[in-house]
């Protein structure tokens, strides 16, 4: 037996010699390096997630996105906060609203006579994220300008109604403080103006008329779209100094924008986590609204 093996090994080894699979060497194989690149390309991009989150969610629920400041990011805290926010949203209807919308906030107030207070006003600013999300309402009551800061997830808030859902031309309306009072005067007993379902949120392109200087801020430097008469009150020196502080290069500063935003992939992940819950809450709210509108006339009749 053994002999026979020996007979054959030579011929067989010759047969297989040119087919030896590996040629070991410490030099880099040129072919392998070249092949590596197309192999990477063959791999398909990140797989598409199952729940399809609407693109407008980041405008409707901006507070679900964390602070983009890298030092302050903490995945666990963010996640816990999101859970708490959903918990709060299950308890109370927190509608979609934007800067420029008119809101009525009813909150419990231990100092007030009925232990609740209701404040109607235009939302002039939204800031902060997570459970700390807050907004500022402004109104002029009895010729006295009043502003109130509310936290969106404050447990003492009992009701948030959107009386008029609209946007303005600017991201924050602090210039209403320097505008004529009629531009921030809203009736306290205003009726809610419902928007058609599925209609886009209208943009109110009203131009606000400012009071003469002195102002609280240098509005001429802020490229405001919603102000009508800024040119009327500024002199050449103001124009010059405003030009000097402009930063036209910032729209090309990609990394600055990147550091101020949450990247799309991360947004998808975050909203995929909360989407189903938010969606069911939305549907529930719609159903309740329909029920209410249906029942009301019958009772009256």
């Amino acid at each position: 037996m053994n002999i026979n093996v020996r007979i054959l090994t030579k011929s067989v080894s010759q047969q297989y010699a040119f087919k030896r699979i590996v040629t070991f060497s410490t030099k880099p194989t040129q072919q392998a390096a070249v092949a590596a690149v197309p192999q990477q390309q063959e791999v398909t991009g990140p797989s598409v997630r199952k729940p399809i989150v609407p693109a407008h969610y980041r405008f409707v629920y901006p507070e679900f996105l964390p602070d983009p400041k890298i030092e302050w990011r903490n995945a666990i805290r963010e996640k816990l906060e999101r859970l708490d926010m959903l918990d709060r949203r299950r308890q109370i209807e927190l509608p979609e609203f934007y800067v420029g919308s008119i809101l009525a906030v009813t909150s419990s107030d231990p100092h007030a006579a009925g232990k609740t207070s209701r404040f109607v006003g235009i939302c002039i600013h939204r800031e902060r994220c997570g459970l700390r999300a807050r907004f500022i309402l402004r109104n002029v009551i009895d010729h006295q300008g009043i502003e109130v800061v509310y936290e969106l997830y404050d447990p003492t808030i009992q009701k948030v109604e959107v009386l008029r859902l609209e946007k303005r031309l600017d991201d924050s309306l602090f210039y209403l403080r320097d505008a004529l009072p009629e531009f921030s005067t809203f009736d306290e007993n205003m009726e809610a103006e419902p928007l058609e379902e599925g209609a886009p949120v209208p943009i109110n392109d009203i131009k606000v008329v400012l009071r003469p200087r002195p102002w609280l801020e240098r509005w001429e430097r802020q490229n405001l779209l919603g102000v009508a008469n800024i040119e009327q009150y500024i002199k050449d020196k103001h124009r010059k100094s405003a030009e000097k502080v402009q930063k036209p290069w910032e729209k090309f500063d990609l990394m600055k924008q990147y550091r101020a935003t949450i990247p799309e992939e991360e947004q998808k992940e975050i909203f995929a986590e909360v989407h189903t819950e938010l969606h069911t809450l939305e549907l529930q709210r719609k159903r309740n609204k329909r029920k209410r509108t249906f029942v009301k006339p019958k009772h009256l009749a």
Partner: protein
């Protein structure tokens, strides 16, 4: 606790991003910094591999990555992206390169579009760290040797042994088969006994030759 800017949507970078920018020491302030980085980004797109100081390379890398990712995301019909490309690429033929060469190259990529290596610095010279910044898939020879074929690596040793094992088994089975055939042949014709002593030393040699690479 500021709200994230939602007006813009950007793709996630596959590189490590520093929490803050480097100012890159410029008398013209932030604008001068961008003008400086513009040259680096242009050079990177043009030459695909450049050697420069580490800090500047690291800053420019983010801008180059975002420029490519924006170009992939929006395509060349998007006005804002075109403006960006126009700003960042000083030589205008590179705008074509960006949209016609780099975008197809990186479209389905799952890794970063650029690579950065630390480079040695000249000994009596500037102290600054140096680096090499390159686009992936460039035509130059690779900077890092590919050592995956090194025969002393454990997986290669194991693979090698497995192959040998496989060959040995195959040979044995072949030999068995042939032996069976020859036995059948001897049963029929009586001519074979002379062959055995002749082939013996040859097979010995071949066995030794096979054992040599093992050692």
């Amino acid at each position: 606790m500021n709200q994230a800017d939602v007006s813009k949507l950007m793709s996630q970078l596959r590189i490590a991003v520093r929490p803050t920018k480097r100012n890159l020491k410029n008398p013209d302030g932030p604008e001068g910094r961008l003008l400086k980085l513009r040259k680096t980004v242009t050079a990177l797109v043009k030459h695909e591999r450049i050697e420069l100081y580490y800090n500047r390379a690291d800053e420019a890398r983010g801008y180059a990555e975002l420029l490519i990712s924006n170009a992939i995301r929006h395509g060349d019909r998007h006005k804002a992206t075109m403006e960006l490309a126009d700003y960042w690429l000083l030589e205008k033929q590179l705008v074509h390169k960006l949209f016609k060469v780099l975008v197809p190259r990186f479209e389905n990529s799952t890794v970063s579009y650029t690579r950065m290596f630390k480079a040695p610095r000249d000994y009596p010279g500037m102290y600054y760290r140096k680096s090499v910044l390159e686009l992936r898939g460039n035509p130059y020879p690779a900077l890092i040797p590919d050592n995956s074929q090194n025969r002393n690596l454990l997986h290669n040793v194991l693979l090698d042994e497995a192959r040998k094992e496989f060959r040995r088994e195959k040979l044995a089975s072949l030999a068995n088969k042939l032996a069976a055939e020859t036995e059948n042949a001897t049963a029929s014709t009586i001519e074979t006994p002379a062959q055995a002593p002749v082939t013996d030393p040859q097979s010995e040699q071949s066995k030794q030759a096979e054992e040599a690479p093992k050692a």
